[in-house]
């Protein structure tokens, strides 16, 4: 089960936009299903986590502007919501602060 999220941020290299988050798995490990709401788009992605693993999870999207980005995961109360400007051009190290 996912025990926490860290550093939700947005990337835009001029061609592809994405958001990523670092997910912390507890001692149970296993397949996790993440739901990203990026402004007005919803993206779902799955990933396997060994016990106590810490991994980045990312999705691509085509949303634009500045607004709410939320990540949640099935079977865990953990969520992480930030306001991000998903259009920020790279060269940037992402947004989130």
């Amino acid at each position: 089960m996912i025990a926490g999220f860290v550093k939700l941020q947005s990337f835009n290299d001029g061609k592809t936009k994405s958001v990523s988050v670092i997910a912390i798995e507890d001692a149970s490990g296993g397949a996790e299903t993440f739901t990203f709401v990026v402004i007005d788009q919803t993206k779902i992605v799955g990933k396997n986590f060994p016990p106590n693993d810490v991994q980045p999870v990312s999705v691509t999207h085509t949303a634009s502007g500045k607004g709410l980005v939320k990540v949640s995961v099935a079977n865990s109360p953990q969520t992480f919501t930030q306001i991000l400007d998903v259009d920020k051009q790279p060269g940037d190290d992402g947004t989130g602060s």
Partner: protein, 486 residues
């Protein structure tokens, strides 16, 4: 006569000696003590006591030190305007020290005395850290509530404290939830109106937090607009801070180990203190699997916190706030702070007893003090010592006896009149004991048909008796009194 004088001296010593050491008694026992003395005395003391010029410490320097007033070390003068002076470091507001909250630029205020007198204190600039205000004339023997209002921009440290308070405020948390519920999943354009509402709610929380510190905006509407605009422009770091704090506090992040704290202690840290501690985090103590992640998390949080604080500071920049400090000094009769009325004399009525004549007579008497004295015997005397203590209490008394009260059918006093002279000793604000000599012309009954050769001669007898100073009564206090205390 010799016997009369010794009796008088004995009685006077009994009155004086038990209290010789209390000449420097703090401010008055007030009316309660006076009342009990009155009951025992059986009369009313119309003493017009007062102190000599300088009886009030406030009259010595010409200006009242704020700290002396606050600690009730001084009395305020009456009948004349005066100044109160202080340093901004001495003033406390509801939320802490004045100079820790704002940088005062000016001070103003108002005051209200217990006798209904009210007045405003003119606006006065703060020079460096020193300030002073002018107070108008007060009446003697009253209490005063003084409201000081200091105005200036916020101090730097306040912004971060207010930011912390906003983040933990239930109203702000509710606004965050409402914002997420209404904006999530909508287009960026559609989220803008919800963001505006969040900014306005945050501005209200910030204003409320400042109010709890005793700070009110000088121009509330201007601040509301400026703050809401600044928060809207900086809503990203301000909103994101809440989630990033949760990440840092997550027990799986291992941040507590890096700070050498328990998880509970970490969670208890307010954001500002958390940011300060995270600047010195020891990543080697963070679990190996989390070290890189913890470093990214901390860097992001510190950057976000700095941006949020800068955004809020920008919204408050240039706004002037007023911090009010109310000082109630002597709000009741027992703790009056304005100098007690200074009197030169008292007019007494009472009863005197002449033991050798076995007569009790009413009399009217003027008691003249050896300089102005304070009306209340408990007021702080201008000087220490037995001499000053006596000065505040002893008077020269002269008067006339009026009428026999004892029902004597064979009075030796010719007519109803007799001249009285002696020393008065004031027990409190109203009551006095007077002892001295009674001069009268004799009327002696004829014996065996012959009139005594002593008949019609002038004689003197010792007397003693209680009296009331009628000029201590509030309506008559100004009689024999100084117009102002200095």
């Amino acid at each position: 006569m010799t016997k009369s004088l010794s009796t008088f001296a004995f009685v006077l010593s009994l009155l004086i000696c038990p209290r010789l050491g209390s000449g420097q008694a703090p401010r008055p026992a007030g009316s309660g003590a006076a009342a009990s003395t009155q009951t025992g005395g059986g009369g009313a003391d119309t003493t017009q006591s007062s102190s000599s010029a300088g009886a009030c410490k406030s009259t010595i320097s010409g200006a009242i030190a704020y700290t002396d007033l606050k600690s009730e070390k001084v009395s305020l003068p009456y009948g004349t305007a005066f100044a109160i002076t202080g340093d901004v470091t001495q003033v406390q507001l509801a939320g802490g020290a004045l100079n820790a909250l704002i940088t005062p630029q000016s001070v103003t205020g108002d005051y209200a005395a217990s006798d209904g007198t009210k007045g405003d204190m003119a606006n006065s600039p703060v020079a460096g850290t020193s300030w002073n205000v002018s107070v108008g004339k007060l009446s003697p023997d009253t209490g005063v509530t003084i409201n000081f209002r200091f105005t200036g921009p916020l101090s730097a440290g306040v912004v971060q404290a207010v930011l912390d308070e906003m983040l933990g405020d239930p109203a702000y948390q509710a606004a965050l939830s409402q914002f997420i519920d209404s904006a999530l999943g909508k287009s960026a354009a559609a989220q803008l109106s919800a963001t505006t509402l969040l900014s306005q709610a945050a501005a209200a929380v910030v204003t409320s937090a400042l109010g709890r510190r005793g700070l009110a905006p000088k121009n509330p509407e201007d601040l509301k607009t400026a703050l809401a605009t600044a928060l809207l422009n900086n809503i990203e770091p301000i909103f994101n801070l809440d989630g990033q704090i949760s990440s840092v506090r997550n027990p799986y992040s291992s941040i507590a180990a890096g700070l050498g704290l328990s998880q509970d202690d970490l969670v208890a840290l307010p954001p500002q203190l958390l940011a300060d501690k995270l600047k010195g985090i020891d990543y080697s103590k963070v679990s190996a699997a989390m070290q890189d992640t913890a470093r990214q998390m901390v860097d992001q949080f510190l950057k976000t916190y700095q941006n949020a604080a800068a955004g809020l500071s920008n919204g408050l920049k240039g706004a002037l706030f007023t911090g009010s400090s109310s000082l109630a000094v002597g709000s009741d009769q027992a703790t009056d702070v304005v100098c007690d009325l200074q009197k030169y004399a008292g007019f007494d009525v009472g009863a005197l007893y002449a033991p050798r004549l076995s007569e009790l007579r009413s009399f009217a008497m003027v008691d003249v003090y050896l300089g102005p004295v304070q009306l209340r015997t408990g007021a702080t005397p201008p000087k220490a010592g037995i001499g000053e203590w006596l000065h505040q209490r002893v008077s020269l008394a002269v008067g006339v006896a009026l009428k026999d009260l004892s029902g004597s059918t064979q009075s030796k006093i010719s007519g109803e009149n007799a001249f009285a002279y002696g020393l008065g000793f004031r027990l409190n604000k109203y009551f006095r004991i007077t002892a001295g000599g009674l001069l009268y012309r004799t009327t002696l009954p004829a014996e065996n048909g012959s009139t005594s050769p002593a008949n019609g001669s002038l004689r003197q007898e010792f007397f003693i008796g209680p009296s009331i100073d009628v000029t201590a009564l509030s309506a008559l206090q100004s009689i024999f009194a100084k117009a102002k205390s200095n």
